[in-house]
């Protein structure tokens, strides 16, 4: 998170937020996950979304590239350029502090909508878990679903 904040300060990305399983864990019981997804709004709207510069910067901080992931302290982190629904999720993400460091995490309603959009088996399980355990604003959730022409799947 410190590194991602550094990317914003350096002007390499406009903004970022934690998405995926690590974002879901903000709202539900902890579960094992094997990578962290950081969604970012690129400062460079070109084809590579500024990814080479982002990688170069993080590798200069000691992160190591491993396929599509960057490894930090042995944990794989994936930087994903946000667009459409995920860009909205970054823009409307909740501000949090993690061990004193400011960060942003997707709102519960966006996590559910993104899972409905992706629709894999594990996403359906995530929706079910979020609906059972997270505090979800039904009006906000419906507004996001409507805006992106999505529906909650039958569980």
């Amino acid at each position: 998170m410190r590194a991602a904040n550094g990317l914003v300060k350096a002007g390499l990305i406009q903004d970022y937020a934690i998405g995926g399983a690590l974002a879901a864990i903000h709202y539900v019981e902890p579960f094992a996950t094997y990578d962290a997804d950081i969604f970012f709004i690129p400062a460079d709207r070109g084809r590579t979304a500024g990814m080479p510069a982002i990688y170069a910067r993080l590798m200069s901080l000691g992160w190591q590239a491993d396929g599509e992931h960057l490894m930090v302290k042995g944990f794989p982190v994936q930087f994903l350029a946000a667009q459409g629904l995920t860009e909205e999720a970054v823009r409307e993400a909740r501000n949090i502090r993690f061990e004193g460091i400011p960060a942003k995490v997707f709102r519960a309603e966006h996590i559910v909508t993104i899972a409905a959009d992706v629709g894999r088996k594990k996403d359906l399980a995530r929706i079910e878990q979020m609906l059972q355990q997270a505090e979800i604003d039904p009006n906000r959730l419906q507004a996001i679903l409507d805006r992106h022409k999505l529906k909650l799947p039958k569980l």
């Binding site: 019981e29 902890p30 579960f31 996950t33 094997y34 059972q132």
Partner: protein, 61 residues
Amino acid sequence: MKTEMRRALARESYEEKIRKVGQLIALTRVFPHRTPARSRPSSPLTLSESPIPYRTKKPKG
């Protein structure tokens, strides 16, 4: 696990939950996930793994 217990876990601080994720990952490295016996095929070898040509019917002639 009881629903109420799971909800209580969900209400813990993010830092605490992330610490628990780390512990879960460490545990899964020590005890890797194995498919439960009931979901495995009844035969110890699947058709494609069988070293013996598999026939469902006795060949004619």
